[in-house]
Symmetry: C3
Subunit: 278 residues, 3 copies
């Protein structure tokens, strides 16, 4: 994991983000903070060229538009051809037939290195029904420790089937591929009070995976740990009067100040990672 952040810092990959207008600014700032560079450009006329000059691609389905599917398909296919990592964030996939159609089109046309969502979104993607409340996981669909054992076979077979790393964000974050799974207990409840923490995590994963493309699973774990640690550091800085917007600022601050050393302490790593299956 220490090596993952070192590679990110030394390579400073350029990440092409096709993302929503609500959190685009936060994603751009987070990418700069972590050591990557963002490039946004979602016009059908230019999307392939931008994918081509980038190192990795993020497809975030929030606030989809009329041409979102063809634009994302073009970018995703080009990235696949070039061997660039592609990360998919199926924001609110259950909220409309329109988003389901986009998600289906993307799942059929693009290979993703990593797919990240909350439990409802991932279950929906995997073809199961899910109870939705907006773009955040409903209470009953929030990933908690006691659900992991039941869910894991299902998630790993989805991962195996897609040949992708699957990330389910929740009270505990689960990262798995077909063979291994990690449960990461980090972060802070205030993260749910800031819009776009999920979008930012997907952007961070894209940066980590792009800089460590031969180790997608480990790089994804490193990114999820980095976000969790950043949330904890941000919470420690909070004083009495400070609320959710100060926390958001401290969260991005913490990402910008993270060093390989933050991952180097054995004890810290052990605390974060309770490996639940090999």
């Amino acid at each position: 994991m220490e090596k993952c952040i070192q590679n990110l810092r030394s390579q400073s990959p350029l990440i092409h983000c096709l993302t929503n207008y609500v959190t685009a600014n936060d994603c751009a700032n987070l990418l700069l903070a972590c050591g990557a560079s963002p490039i946004m450009g979602d016009a059908e006329e230019e999307v392939e060229e931008i994918t081509q000059l980038s190192d990795g691609l993020l497809l975030n389905m929030g606030t989809p538009k009329n041409r979102t599917l063809p634009v994302m398909l073009k970018a995703g296919k080009r990235a696949n051809e070039l061997g660039h990592p592609v990360v998919f964030d199926p924001v609110g996939v259950g909220v409309s037939a329109f988003r389901r159609n986009i998600a289906n089109g993307l799942m059929n046309g693009v290979h993703f290195q990593v797919i990240r969502g909350n439990l409802s979104e991932i279950k929906f993607l995997a073809g199961l029904c899910a109870s939705f409340k907006g773009v955040d996981a409903g209470q009953e669909e929030r990933l908690t420790s006691d659900k992991i054992e039941d869910l894991l076979p299902f998630l790993q077979s989805f991962a195996e089937n897609r040949q992708a790393v699957i990330v389910v964000s929740g009270e505990v974050d689960l990262v798995c591929d077909g063979g291994k799974a990690y449960a990461i207990r980090a972060g802070h409840p205030l993260m749910a009070k800031v819009t776009g923490t999920g979008c930012m995590l997907s952007a961070l994963i894209t940066a980590y995976v792009t800089a460590n493309s031969s180790h997608s699973l480990l790089a994804t774990v490193a990114a999820v740990c980095a976000m969790g640690l950043a949330g904890e550091k941000a919470a420690l800085r909070m004083s009495n009067q400070e609320g959710s917007n100060s926390f958001r600022c401290y969260l991005i601050d913490a990402i910008s100040q993270m060093t390989p050393k933050d991952f180097a302490l054995e004890s810290e790593t052990e605390r974060l990672l309770s490996r639940i299956r090999i």
Copy 2:
């Protein structure tokens, strides 16, 4: 009013925002801060489905696009059918024929629980001419205490006619329906130095009214008071070097930290509310 914020916190309503790309992030963060959840999705293909699974709807007319009117009409009509509160923010209605056309279409096709704007925007909506400067109220059109007496009959007849609560933001904020009116003297001049404080107030009103739908007038007053109090709290935190962006952060912080207790002090409430007509 104490009850209004309690209901908001306990119900955590999902607010569908059709809003501009400039302040969408701030509105989403403010909604999370106040205890609600935001969902943004403005594609014609999905807008009705999203309205359907939400609890309340905000129509904010900033940065309108080609399809803004039909999209907002679809969402607004569906919300009306479902009995969901709909709040209208006619941002810059006077700046172009295009916006006037959108506003007219919406006023004819949708029933609003609350309409909030600055004095120019509200006068324009009500069919009077107004002198505009951008999307902010011109100096001469800023609502001040001395204008209230003259304006009130006009505003209340507009409210009566629309069966809506009307909010005019300015140096003093006026909230009225056909029967009652409240003048709220709260807030801080720095709020005019932050983009989107009007948009954020409209989002906050939507959250309060959705959680207290049988008391729209009181819920709107509570939201306007909450924003004003937040502005005052934010101003108190400002130290020497801090400027408009720190203030913006503190404003959202204050909303996230507000508790029913903030509304419980009789003296505070009396200071805020000078009821000017019953």
Copy 3:
């Protein structure tokens, strides 16, 4: 320069921004912070009316869309007719044929008072090839002091040819017209860790030039100095735990707190301006 900021504060010009969705919020907040007012509205149906009621126009080419060229042409031509200053920020002009086509169309159809970009963008615009990495200047294309002497004749002939002020942002910022050139050594490396500092500078230049339209060159220099000073002030406020997002907040804070006095100190001005040609 002292006079430039005084004029900006007293006139409070309304700036029409046709800009990208990633940094629109930051640009709006920066314009309010410096004493101007922003208005965003990029629908083809209303763009000319908004230009007409504004005092100055910013065309920022980030995240271009299908209709970006005709919309910007309409606004730019109307602004030219009205004698309003127009500032052009050719964000990422080299990344796609689509952006090159927009830039060409604008360069042929609109007269700009000021054109601001990084070295790659400006070289591209001027018809030279450039090595690009995303929307930020590649390392080898970053403007440094030792390159100025070589580049100056080229930049000044471009400025002369376009009858415009040219700004090249980099380690040192160069501002020139056909006759004079200034090298401004200010700012802080953390500015590169915040998205949109270039977009914000272009917005700031638009505000300064609009309030001082008969002195475009000097007003541009004042805006570049203001941004640089703000970056230095922001950096001075940074404490141990603070990272890139705190810096971004402090940067806008510093713009909002800047006074004519900040420009009044002879010594400060001399430190900033090493006039390199008259």
